[in-house]
């Protein structure tokens, strides 16, 4: 029977206290793991998607809002830009790829994104096609659409199926359904692990036609003439990929100066968003988690101290049968390590298990796919610090045992 086996037996002997201590540590560890892992994974997922586009041009407003609306399909768009701006950007020799985005309708809460065929030619950063078709093909007719993978799986729509779009970017009860303009599914995309999985891609012409007709109807009802300006071809945003990402700032500045709109650099906006808004929340959560871990370490200290106090007689017996004081101190220290190690292991599983359970809802909300079992380096460092704290907490009672003289404790009763 070695130190570990003996320490384990003592922990089992007072199983309830041991269990509660491990539970206390594991809760703190789980919280730390979940927060750090969620931060790492959300950063990775958001940056991956933001990194696909060098620039987003759109109507005047908040650059972050523009990026969230046109890249992540989360916010309301800032306003429209002339289609001519897209044509000019497309012809620009510095542009590798550009696609317009027109928003306005949804189907069951999934946004219908008006765009053009070349949208699906977007290359990833390795030059490989980012979009792949799981079934069917790209739209050819004005009212044909391509479904993101998540839309297809949750709506049950298949190739050749028809549906109607609803006015607005989010699903609202009683919202106007465009029954005169049925869409037909021509293709379904393979999962990308991005917000595009939650979008329905149609032609920009379909968006124009539906909303032009709608405007005409409203004008007729109100007895006013349709303004010529509304007939102008517009897009909600223009997604741009440059041949050289180093030109981002220059091009963004150029767009701001030469058009009425703005240009945002998605990766910069997302990093600013994370550092400015998400970061403080995560730091607050981490502070709470650190406090929980600190309390847990104190629990280890108190538990081991009480256990050592209750076991003064046992420690004295071990000394009386020839154990040297370093050995009994090592035994108590080993118990602390087992409690801390157990707590960390259970906490790690709880934290990442919890994250695994949130993968579905997170994907449903944002379209982003998290890898819940990925352990980032920041988490490894945090686990190391927590193990260190547990070891220090275990050291105090073991030092106390080291210093005790057995003779008084031998007279204690069981």
């Amino acid at each position: 029977m070695n130190f570990f086996a003996m320490a384990w037996r003592y922990l089992r002997f007072r199983w309830l206290v041991s269990l509660l201590t491990v539970a206390g540590i594991s809760l703190g560890v789980a919280l730390v793991c979940a927060v750090l892992s969620l931060r790492h994974e959300s950063e990775r997922a958001l940056s991956r998607e933001a990194g696909l586009y060098d620039l987003v041009a759109g109507g005047k407003g908040s650059p972050l809002q523009l990026v969230l609306a046109s890249v992540y399909h989360l916010d309301s768009p800032t306003g429209n830009v002339p289609y001519a701006d897209y044509e000019r950007l497309r012809r620009d020799s510095r542009v590798l790829w550009a696609a317009p985005v027109g928003l306005g309708d949804n189907y069951s809460g999934y946004r219908i994104v008006g765009t053009e065929v070349q949208f699906f030619d977007l290359p990833d950063r390795n030059g490989e096609p980012f979009f792949r078709f799981r079934e069917g093909k790209v739209f050819e007719d004005r009212f044909e659409v391509v479904l993101g993978s998540q839309v297809a799986s949750s709506s049950g729509l298949g190739i050749g199926d028809n549906f109607f779009g609803t006015h607005g970017l989010v699903e609202v009860p009683g919202a106007e359904v465009h029954r005169d303009f049925p869409y037909r599914v021509s293709g379904i995309l393979a999962p990308t692990g991005t917000a595009q999985d939650r979008a329905i891609f149609g032609t920009l012409e379909s968006v124009w036609e539906i909303h032009e007709t709608e405007d005409r109807l409203h004008s007729a009802i109100q007895g006013t003439a349709l303004l010529e300006g509304r007939k102008k071809r517009e897009a909600t945003a223009i997604l741009v990929r440059l041949k050289t990402p180093g030109l981002r700032l220059w091009m963004a500045d150029e767009i701001r100066k030469e058009t009425d709109g703005i240009a945002a650099i998605p990766i910069n906006e997302i990093l600013r968003f994370q550092r400015g808004i998400v970061g403080p929340v995560q730091r607050a959560l981490l502070a709470v988690a650190a406090a929980v871990v600190a309390v847990s370490c104190l629990t280890v200290l108190v538990t081991l101290h009480q256990a050592a106090e209750r076991r003064r007689r046992d420690i004295a017996i071990l000394r009386s049968i020839g154990a040297v004081r370093a050995e009994v101190a090592a035994l108590v220290f080993t118990e602390g390590l087992l409690l801390t190690g157990g707590g960390i292991l259970v906490g790690l599983l709880l934290g990442h298990g919890g994250l695994a359970l949130s993968v579905g809802p997170f994907r449903e909300t944002t379209g982003l796919v998290l890898n819940p079992w990925q352990i980032p380096s920041s988490e490894l460092i945090a686990l190391g610090v927590m193990a260190g704290c547990g070891a220090i907490a275990s050291l105090f009672p073991s030092i106390s045992c080291y210093r005790r003289t057995p003779i008084e404790d031998l007279h204690l009763t069981e």
């Binding site: 009386s320 020839g322 154990a323 040297v324 004081r325």
Partner: protein, 233 residues
């Protein structure tokens, strides 16, 4: 061989009312001798035993056990010396509750200087020797008091220590069981020529041992030392 010479030890805080002094001019036990340490409660029997075990250090004097002077040893050296040279049996058995009989015996062979690779096998052997071959895996709580003391004796002899120190080993047992344990102790002591020092209040048992050492008068109330006197002045 055990020899204590001009041993003085103050017990309790100096100057405190409960402070007592242990003063032993001379004590000797040759190898293989069986000695009963007798005398009234608080006379210093257990203190003498603890000095031999190295659980107490004298303030003055020599404590020679198997050729080594314990007075000059460090705590670690005392622990190791005790582990090799002394097997201890206590009135209240002092078994470790989470462990089975065989584990309680084997644990003594896992620590300090007596580390043994086949501790489990050796523990089983000695438990069979003390008549507990069928109780190897019982926990202390599952054993009778007599069986617990047998386990304690097995633990004391498992490391082949040449000295057995028994502090009122029959004190918690009924007369019949006490006599069984007493007989067992004598048997295991004589088998390997072990020296046995046994503290006992039982004059009948003590009279059966060849040597009785009366500890009466070894302990007296502490006299204020010259330092204490200077302090109070």
């Amino acid at each position: 061989m055990i020899r204590l010479n001009e041993v003085f030890l103050r017990l309790g805080k100096a100057g405190h009312a409960s402070s007592v002094e242990f003063d032993l001019p001379f004590f000797e036990a040759a190898s293989g001798e069986t000695i009963a340490l007798t005398g009234p409660s608080g006379c210093g029997k257990s203190t003498l035993l603890n000095l031999v075990a190295g659980l107490r250090r004298p303030d003055r004097g020599e404590v020679i056990v198997d050729g080594a002077d314990l007075a000059g040893m460090s705590t670690e050296q005392l622990d190791r010396h005790r582990g090799v040279h002394c097997g201890m049996v206590f009135q209240s058995f002092h078994l470790l509750a989470p462990f089975s009989a065989v584990e309680n015996v084997a644990i003594g062979l896992r620590f300090g200087a007596r580390k043994s690779l086949n501790a489990g096998q050796r523990a089983s052997e000695v438990l069979r020797r003390v008549g507990l071959g069928d109780r190897l895996h019982a926990r202390p709580a599952e054993l009778s008091v007599g069986e617990r003391q047998r386990v304690a004796i097995a633990r004391a002899i498992a490391g082949d220590a040449p000295i057995l120190l028994a502090d009122e080993p029959t004190g918690s047992l009924d007369p019949d069981t006490g006599r069984e344990i007493f007989s067992l102790l004598r048997e295991v002591a004589s088998e390997n020529g072990r020296t046995l020092l046994m503290v006992t209040h039982d004059s009948e048992l003590a009279s059966e041992l060849p040597i009785n050492f009366d500890c009466s008068g070894l302990v007296r109330s502490a006299r204020p030392s010259s330092e204490d006197r200077e302090h109070s002045a």
